[in-house]
Symmetry: D2
Subunit: 266 residues, 4 copies
C-alpha cells in the first residue's frame, strides 16, 4: 500500500528517483496475497490457539486476494466459511465460490473465528462484539492493527488476561469471553513466521530483476512510478516453474500468428 | 472476442455509433466464463458420454477464466486435473491451485479426457493424437472449432462412426480409438444447453442497463468503444445478490473516510 | 435393500438356493453409492433444470454414502451445502466435513434445491412445503418415490403443469411455485442415465465372479445369504485399478511379517 | 492398537477385568484419526519447516482414516496429492477421490514431501531414498518411529546436522540433501501439539461414559473386551453437536415405523 503514497509523490513532483512498484507484479500480489497470506493466516491462528478448523464457522471480512486465500484455505481444512464484503461484485464472487455471504451484523452471531482482511478501520466494532458467542476468537490479517476496534473491546471488557501466547481473553461485563489474537496485529507475523520462503522468493526476484533493469538500461529511466515490466514478471514465473521442475508449452509459429491476427482485429 | 474487431474499427474511424463492450464487465466475464463455462462444459461432456469424472485424468488446455472454471469443476467431481499453458504466470497459478502442469506432449500420453479452452489453433494436433491412449475423449470449449486439428484427425483415421449423439469414434490406423465430441465445436452448446439462465441474466442486465445509459444521457455519447460504466457493473451485482436473498455490508462514514484518505495517499 | 428381505427368508428357512449379497461388497456400495449416485444425482437435476449450482443453497437429507456423495459433488460445483440427519454420528461427520447441519424445518426456509436420500418416508412433508421459498426445486434420489410426501404436495397445490421435461410446477394456494423433479422418483434414473458404466462395471464384475465362485467350488455352498468373499472384492478392485493404468505397492516379506505379528497381538 | 493385544489376552484368559475398547467408538476413530490427525500432521510439518503447501507434490503412504485425513487437508492447502497403498480397495478409493495413486518407487522420484501413515515398517526404505529429489522432506505420522527406515538413512548419509527445530538435514554421498522431521516420530506430537482439544473431548467423553457404564450396571460385566455401547457413542455425538450449537432431526413415529418394517424385512 506504500505505492499509493509514492504515486501521490510522483504527481506532486516530490520523487527523487525512479520507482518500480514491485507490489503490482502478478508474481508478487497474485501469489503472495492469495497463497502466502492464505496459508500463513490459518497457520498463525492454529499456532496461537491449536483449534480444530473442521466444523467451525469462520467469518472472513473482505474478499480481496487475501480474503480469497484465507477463505479457500479455511474451507480446505473443513471449516464453514462466511464472507462479508462491501463491494457487490466481490460479494457475488464469494457467493458463487460457495461461501455464505451476509452482513457482519448477522455473521457476528454465528462465527466461532473472525478474521479481518479489508484494509479498512473498525470492521469489527462494538456492535459486533455485543452479539458474539461466548468463546469467539478474533484475529486480524489485514491492515496494521486498525481493523478491529481494540479500544471498544477494551472498554467493554471487565478484565483481560493472557491465557496462551498470543491469546488474550477479554471477559465482558455480561460474562462472555472473547479471545483476541496477537493484539490485533497481523496474525501471520505475530503468531507464525509470515510468508513461507517459497512465496517470498518471487517477491525478492522481482526486486532484484527490477533493480538490474534500472541499472543496465542505456538511458536513465525518468523519475516516476513504474509497473514491473511484463518481461520481468514472466521471467520470474518461468524461473519459479523451473525450480518446481515444471516446463510448459510454447506457442508454435502458427499459433503465434493466429493470436496476433486476432489481437490486431484484422 | 468481437470487441477486438470493434476497437480496430473505432481506431480506423469505421464505427457508426457508440458501443459499450458488455463482455468487459466484471459481472459478465467473471461469472459467465468461470462459473458458466466451467459447469456447462462439464455438463456437455457428461451428457454426450455419461462418463464418471471421479478418478479420470482430465487435461485442460488453457488456464484463463474459462480454463480455471473447468479445472475447478472437474476437480469438484473427483477428477485428477492436468493443465497446459503457454503463459508462465498462468501456469504457475495453475500449479499453486494444485493442478498438475506439464507440456501437452506429456499430458497427451496420460489424459482420459481433453478439453481445449485457449483461444488459439491446433492446440491438439497430430503429434498429440499420435500418443493418446486408446479410448481418449476429446472436446473443445474454447474458440469456434479451430482448437482441435480436425483435419489431422480425419487424415489419421481409418474409419469414423457416430456411436452416440455428439460422439464420433475415430479409429486410427494403429487400432486405437479416439472419441471426438460435438465435432469439435463448443461442447456446452453442442451437447448441453449453454450457460444456465442464472449466469446469462447478468449479461442481459448489463446489456439492458447499458442501452438505457446511452439512451438517457443528456448529451450524446461520442462514437467510440466504451467499457461498461462501473456503476452499472455494481448495480447488476447488487441486483443479483438481492435475487439470491443476500444483503451485504456498507461502509460506515468513518470507513469511507479512512479509505479515501489512503487512496489519495495523503 | 433387497438383502434385508433375503436375510429374513434365510432365517425363516424359505430360501431355495445360496445367495451372495453383492450389495455388501466394498467395491459395490463404496463406489456405486458415493461416486455413482453422487455424480448422477447432480447430473439428473442439471439435465432437468439447467440450473447453475454455484451459489445455490442445496439441502441434502441424509448423510449415508449416497448423501455424502451428493453433498461432495454439490460443493464441488460451488453450492452451499446443508445437510439434515437423524443420526448424531453422521450429523457430526457432516458438520466436520464443512457442511451446515440443521433441522429440516429450518433448512426448508433457506434451500434453493432439496434432495432426499434417507431411505425413509415423508422426509419432505407438508410443514416443509409450507415454508419453502418461491421457486424451490425438489428432487429425490433415495428410496422409491416415498421420501417426498407427494400426496401432501398435490393437496396443497392449486394447479400443476409440466414446464420442462421432468419438471412439474406446483402452484400453491399462496402463490408460491415449487418445482418437483421426475415425479419424485429417483432423479438420476428419471432425468439422467443412472450410474456411469465405469461404476456399474464393478458391480457386474462382483456378480460374475460370485456366480463363478459358487459354480466352481468343490462342495455345494449351503443355502444361506453370504457376503462377497473378500478375495473377490479385492480382485475386482485390482482389475479396476489395472483398467485405469494404476499399479500399487505390495507388502514386502518383512512388512507382511510385521503386520501379522501385530494383528496376532504377539 | 493396544486393543489387538488386549483381545489376545482375553482369548488367553489373561485379562483381570472387563475392558471397553474406546478406540473402536465411531466418535473416537472417525474424528480423531481423520480430522485430528489430518490437521495436526499438516500443522506439525508446517511448524517444523514453514513450507508453502500450494503446488507441492505431497506423497501420502497409506489411505486408512489417517491417510485420508492428511490427503484431504494437504489438498485443501493446494498441494498435489499422491497416495500409495497396498490394499486395492483403498487404492481405488484414493483414485476416485481424485488423488494420484502409484508405486512408492515411482512416487519417490516426484515427491517434495513424504508422509507415512501405514502402520507398517520401512515404508520408506533405502531404495526410495536413493531416488528422492534433492531437498525432499520426510515425515511420519503413523506408527511409532518404524515406518521410515532410519538406520538405512543414517547409513547412506555422509553427514547430518540439525538445521531448524525438528529438521535434520541428511547429506547423502551423492550430494543430495534429505530433510527428516522430528526424528521420524509422530510429527503431530513432535512438532505441533497433537490433536486439538475439540477432537480429544470426544475421546475423553467416551472414556468417562464407559467407566460410568461399567460402574453403574446392576450386574458385573464379565471379564472380556467390549465395544463401546452404541448408545454411548450416539450420546457423545449428540453432546458434541449441542456444544456446536447444532440440533438435528428426529424420526417421526411414521418414519420410525417404516424403517423398522424395512429392517425386519416384513
Amino acid at each position: 500500500t506504500g505505492v499509493i503514497r509514492l504515486r501521490a509523490m510522483a504527481k506532486a513532483g516530490a520523487l527523487a528517483y525512479p520507482i518500480i512498484a514491485i507490489n503490482e507484479a502478478d508474481t508478487k500480489h497474485f501469489f503472495d496475497n492469495r497463497y502466502g497470506t492464505g496459508q500463513s493466516t490459518i497457520d498463525g491462528i492454529t499456532r496461537a490457539t491449536n483449534i480444530l478448523w473442521a466444523g467451525k464457522n469462520v467469518v472472513i471480512a473482505g474478499y480481496g486476494w487475501c480474503g480469497k486465500g484465507v477463505a479457500m484455505r479455511a474451507r480446505g481444512l473443513g471449516a464453514k466459511t462466511i464472507v462479508t464484503e462491501v463491494q457487490p461484485v466481490r460479494a457475488l464472487e464469494a457467493a458463487m465460490d460457495g461461501h455464505q455471504v451476509m452482513h457482519m451484523d448477522e455473521a457476528s452471531r454465528i462465527g466461532d473465528i473472525f478474521i479481518t482482511l479489508t484494509g479498512d478501520v473498525n470492521v469489527l466494532d462494538r456492535r459486533h462484539f455485543d452479539v458474539m458467542k461466548d468463546g469467539a476468537i478474533i484475529a486480524n490479517s489485514g491492515h496494521f492493527n486498525v481493523e478491529i476496534n481494540l479500544k471498544a473491546l477494551e472498554t467493554m471488557s471487565e478484565s483481560k488476561r493472557n491465557v496462551r501466547r498470543n491469546v488474550d481473553e477479554h471477559r465482558l461485563m455480561d460474562g462472555r469471553k472473547l479471545f483476541l489474537l496477537g493484539e490485533g496485529r497481523l496474525i501471520n507475523l505475530a503468531a507464525a513466521e509470515g510468508h513461507p520462503a517459497s512465496v517470498m522468493d518471487m517477491s525478492f526476484a522481482n526486486q532484484a530483476l527490477a533493480v538490474h533493469y534500472i541499472a543496465t538500461r542505456d538511458e536513465r529511466l525518468p523519475v516516476d512510478v513504474y509497473d514491473v515490466p511484463r518481461e520481468i514478471d514472466s521471467e520470474v514465473a518461468r524461473l519459479k516453474l523451473a525450480s518446481m521442475g515444471i516446463t510448459i508449452d510454447e506457442l508454435t509459429e502458427e499459433q503465434e500468428k493466429y493470436l496476433t491476427s486476432w489481437e490486431e482485429g484484422t
